[in-house]
């Protein structure tokens, strides 16, 4: 036994509540309030994981979020990989497994890899596995290197909460600086939110000596928290500020430890106070990665919070003042302590009962599965069961860096400190380089100054005064032995030297070439030593080398937390028809079309293709019923409505008479056809833009844009009524007969309601609008009715339709019908270069005298090119199958294949008994009758260019 639990003490643990959990299959005992790490230490478990590449044994390093080594996969109900044992509470029945170790961290079968370490330095993969193909090696390498395992069968136990929150002051970190700032801000009448990544507040006050306003620090912490809680301020423990985003949005990751997914908070404070503290750095010496070598500050935290004494014969190695208090406390707890300080002069006094060795540093540590001794630079050897190191403090300025705060190098602190202030952000406490409590509190006063001042006095430190003396102890180029810089990613001094030799001297290159500072800890302990070493190698100063870019998240955040409610169907919600349930009851098979969930076909036959063909055939024979509710219905109303639609449409629309409709194109300013559809003129100053289902939002936005940016708000008013109304389409030779049977109270005679006209009737007391337009080529009527009253009308149509063998058709059959007629679908039969005259509609371009969107673009050199791709029909030789959509028309130029266009729509027409197809083919409009080669997946077939319309070219069926 070396590490052990003391019989008394431990501010965080509750000895009346023992707990048991499993680690690598072994039962570990602890108390409520333990973290997994503190319980493992109390149980003297030294090896808690294996390193990323070499499978070196790894022990607990720290006591917080910076932990590079002690990662565990937590199974059972949560199955979260790479959880930091240092921040994860130990709980009864929890199942934890070490990472990158099989079967256990102690007896890892890949441990042999470390013997080959010299052959697998940084970038080894890049250089070695190039031939024949990296992917042949990848699976095995991935299985052998890495960290935790993702459980593929795991699903989130529920949607993660996401909370938007506002407050005056957000204080990140509940150490002395954060608590003081929060208390002062609350006293100034501001609303405060205080977050801390530990389970209980206090930060270093939880273990370092302190007396505030004449009280023990622990009492002051308790009082401050109680005061904030009583004031209604929000206090979030176990919550990490993961990032600062634009305009000072702060993301928080709140952990629950009860099976609930983490909560994501989006906080918009008026002022951010970063009291994020500082992280202790390791010291460079050979084998400094052995289990049992840990942060001195962490050992102190374990001693006070969890009553864990990390060793009996302890070496404390340091280059700064902070380790003295640690050495003294450990000696007082009856450990044998040797304090090795790199400094010869200017050190504090030796702590009682600890031996101080000045002017010496550690050269190496020894041991196999845990450290058993150290050798100093003068060759002296000491046995030890634990080595605590303090290489100085790196202020936690990640969030400040993310907010684009500039850093300033401090020689006195041997660290980067926050430089020029950033609007709305104050950095205080150890994160700003403060050492003593007096310095910390002095900074807390002005932290929220932009919002007001408090009259309350600053807290006063009345206890011993901490000092910040330090002599830098950076890794030295050319040092002997294996000196770890990055524990998590197995990066040593030699790897950094290798990167420098190969000219990866920029910190960003260094990071990516060696993986220094990557993975779950993002180099919280290793970045600064790494770039200081690079500075040493390249003869630059540390600030000249600079830091890598700070990016969120500060600590790993589960993706489920970012997803929130956007999972499953809510990831991209579909729009639904008012009659969806009715269609389902009728056997409809649904598919998504342009964001809408619509019937693809009804289940007439088990075989979808046969159902679709049957629907298309019967539609031509008698009458078809189709739910066209998705069709856009955007009303344009106002004194300038006619001028407005004239400008928006390619076709002249102002000449339309009230009660009539006209088909037209909308173009983009570059002349490309953007949408097509029918415009209805309801009255002198009122139109309905009927646009493609998938274009409603875009057309609406476009109308609003020209309204607000050209015509003015008084000119027209625009109302998107698409979802207000359901539109049921009745199409086919018997459509008028079926409509008569409904009794809509209007004359359906062709004189009263000709093609491209509208009429109003009523159904069951509701007004209906009948629009006689056709997308099938047959006589068709669109009946629009209040969406919530459509169901009886549809039922009536179905029932009355039985006398005519009416058939409900889905979108697939409609596609066949419209392709037979050569009617296009924008975006399918056109692409991002198609101009209106490519589709055979040249009239407005030639004749219109008034301005419209896209007009000038129709008169460019490009628009006038004589070899433009034009809309055509394509017929295949008798007996052949339909052309594949997307197949290219080809030609040979100098013996080389060239595309001359492509097939855009292709179907088997059940009515014609042969395939029909549309395509965009070079000069197609002038080449009707010509046979061309069509290539698809290397196979060449023939097709003859025809007019787009293959069925009823004279249009007689519209009036039949």
């Amino acid at each position: 036994m070396t590490a052990s639990r003391l019989a008394t003490g431990g501010s965080a643990i509750d000895r009346s509540r023992p707990i048991r959990f499993s680690f690598d299959g072994t039962i570990v005992q602890g108390f409520a309030g333990d973290t997994i790490a503190s319980a493992l230490l109390a149980g003297d478990v030294a090896v808690v994981g294996r390193s990323f590449k070499y499978h070196r044994p790894r022990g607990i390093w720290g006591a917080g979020v910076e932990e590079p080594n002690a990662l565990v996969d937590i199974g059972g109900s949560r199955a979260t990989p790479n959880t930091r044992a240092t921040t994860e509470p130990a709980r009864d029945g929890l199942v934890a497994k070490s990472v990158n170790a099989t079967p256990s961290a102690l007896a890892d079968r890949n441990a042999f890899l470390d013997r080959f370490a010299r052959f697998i330095p940084a970038a080894f993969y890049y250089k070695t596995f190039m031939w024949p193909d990296w992917h042949r090696f990848e699976p095995r390498i991935r299985a052998m290197a890495g960290l935790g395992t993702v459980d593929a069968d795991w699903t989130s136990p529920g949607m993660a909460d996401q909370i938007n929150h506002h407050c005056d002051v957000l204080v990140v970190g509940a150490g002395p600086a954060g608590l003081a700032a929060a208390r002062l801000a609350a006293g100034a009448g501001l609303t405060v939110t205080l977050v801390d990544d530990q389970q209980s507040p206090g930060g270093s006050l939880g273990y370092r000596a302190g007396e505030i306003d004449g009280k023990p620090a622990a009492v002051w912490v308790k009082e401050t928290i109680a005061e904030l809680a009583a004031g209604g301020h929000l206090i979030l423990p176990s919550t990490t500020a993961l990032g600062i985003y634009d305009h000072n949005l702060v993301g928080l990751n709140q952990r629950h430890f009860d099976g609930r997914p983490d909560t994501l908070w989006r906080v918009r404070p008026r002022q951010i106070v970063l009291a994020t503290g500082a992280i202790e750095r390791p010291l460079p010496f050979a084998n400094n990665d052995l289990p049992g070598i840990m942060s001195a500050d962490a050992a102190f935290a374990y001693l006070r919070r969890h009553a864990v004494l990390v060793g009996r014969r302890i070496i404390v190695a340091t280059n700064n003042d902070s380790a003295y208090e640690v050495a003294g406390a450990l000696a007082e707890a009856s450990a044998e302590v040797r304090l090795v300080d790199i400094r010869r002069n200017g050190t504090p006094a030796a702590p009682a009962n600890a031996r101080l060795i000045k002017g010496r540093s550690l050269a190496s540590a020894s041991g196999k599965l845990r450290v058993d001794g150290v050798t100093l630079d003068d060759g002296t050897r000491f046995d030890a069961d634990c080595v605590l190191v303090s290489g100085g403090w790196t202020p936690t300025i990640h969030l400040f860096g993310q907010a684009k705060g500039k850093l300033a190098w401090s020689d006195a602190r041997a660290a980067f400190l926050p430089g020029d202030p950033v609007d709305g952000i104050a950095v205080i406490g150890a994160a700003a380089g403060a050492v003593s409590l007096s310095e910390v509190f002095a900074g807390a006063g002005p932290a929220f100054a932009p919002l007001g001042q408090t009259k309350a006095p600053l807290p006063r430190s009345t206890g011993p005064k901490a000092t910040g003396g330090i002599l830098p102890a950076w890794p030295i180029p050319g040092s002997k032995g294996r000196i770890w810089i990055d524990y998590q990613n197995d990066v040593t001094v030699k790897d950094v030297e290798l990167a420098a030799r190969e000219n990866f001297v920029s910190v960003e290159h260094l990071k990516r070439y060696t993986t220094l500072g990557m993975a779950t800890d993002q180099g919280k302990t290793s970045n600064l030593p790494g770039l200081a070493l690079m500075a040493g190698i390249t003869g630059r100063t540390v600030p000249e080398v600079g830091t890598t870019t700070y990016r969120p998240p500060f600590t790993p955040v589960p993706l489920a937390s970012f997803a929130g409610a956007r999972v499953g169907e809510l990831m991209a919600p579909v729009r639904r028809l008012p009659l969806e349930n009715v269609h389902r009851a009728n056997g409809a098979v649904f598919q998504e079309y342009g964001g809408w969930l619509r019937p693809a076909h009804y289940g007439g036959y088990a075989d979808a293709e046969r159902s679709i063909a049957d629907e298309a055939l019967r539609a031509r024979q008698s009458v078809a019923l189709f739910d066209g509710s998705t069709l856009g219905k955007i009303e344009v109303i106002g004194p300038q409505a006619a001028a407005f639609v004239d400008f928006l449409y390619y076709n002249t629309m102002s000449t339309l008479k009230p009660g009539r409709c006209r088909y037209g194109f909308m173009l983009s300013e570059n002349g490309v056809v953007f949408d097509d559809g029918v415009l209805v003129r309801l009255g002198e100053h009122r139109f309905v833009v009927s646009c493609s289902s998938s274009h409603v939002a875009a057309v609406h936005a476009r109308l609003e844009e020209w309204r607000q940016d050209r015509f003015g708000r008084g000119a027209v008013y625009i109302h998107n009524a698409t979802s207000d109304m359901a539109t049921l389409t009745v199409s086919g030779p018997n459509s008028r007969k079926l409509l008569k049977a409904l009794g809509l109270g209007l004359s359906l005679g062709d004189a009263d309601l000709p093609h491209m006209a509208i009429a109003h009737g009523s159904y069951a007391g509701d007004e209906v609008r009948i629009t006689r337009v056709s997308f099938t080529g047959d006589r068709s009527y669109e009946i629009s009715i209040r969406a919530d009253r459509a169901e009886p009308l549809w039922a009536h149509l179905r029932k009355a339709g039985q006398a005519f063998d009416a058939v409900a058709i889905g979108l697939e059959a409609l596609m066949i019908l419209r392709a037979e007629k050569g009617f296009i679908v924008i975006g399918k039969d056109t692409d991002g270069t198609t101009l209106p005259h490519d589709l055979g509609v040249d009239g407005p371009r030639v004749k219109r005298q008034t301005e419209f969107v896209g007009r000038r673009s129709l008169f460019t050199e490009e628009a006038s090119r004589d070899n433009r791709m034009q809309l055509v029909g394509l017929a295949v030789p008798q007996g052949e199958a339909p052309l594949p959509t997307g197949a290219h028309g080809i030609k040979r130029i100098d013996g080389r294949l060239r595309s001359q266009g492509f097939v855009t729509s292709s179907y088997q027409s059940p009515t014609l008994g042969r395939p029909v197809a549309l395509g965009l083919i070079e000069r197609g409009a002038t080449r009707h009758g010509e046979t061309i080669d069509i290539q698809h997946l290397g196979k060449i077939s023939k097709a003859t260019i025809t007019a787009p319309c293959a069925f009823d070219p004279a249009g007689e069926r519209l009036h039949a």
């Binding site: 634009d246 989006r266 609406h700 609003e704 844009e705 940016d709 708000r713 000038r856 673009s857």
Partner: protein, 88 residues
């Protein structure tokens, strides 16, 4: 996440907005507009470093407006509703 001031709704998250192009890119009407002028209207953008005047639309309420903002600091300087501003 930036906060943009919609003249109608007030400050809202940037995800609710859509960029609408440079402000002041006045549409030249007519078929006699010189080709390069028309091409400039269609495609040439200032892409300034620093203060930019841009058209944005708040997709929730449909408001198009001119926003002045700093493309380096992301500071929003002003926003104002459009009302036929670019009428020819």
């Amino acid at each position: 996440m930036q906060l943009f001031p919609c003249p109608f709704c007030g400050p809202r998250d940037e995800t609710e907005f859509h960029y609408g192009g440079d402000a002041g890119n006045v549409r030249p009407d007519g078929i006699d507009v010189p080709t390069d002028r028309w091409a400039g209207y269609l495609y040439l953008r200032g892409n300034p470093k620093g203060t930019a005047r841009e058209i944005w639309v708040h997709m929730i309420c449909g408001e198009f407006f001119v926003m002045e903002r700093d493309t380096v600091t992301h500071k929003v300087l002003s926003s104002a509703a459009l009302d036929g501003e670019h009428a020819a």
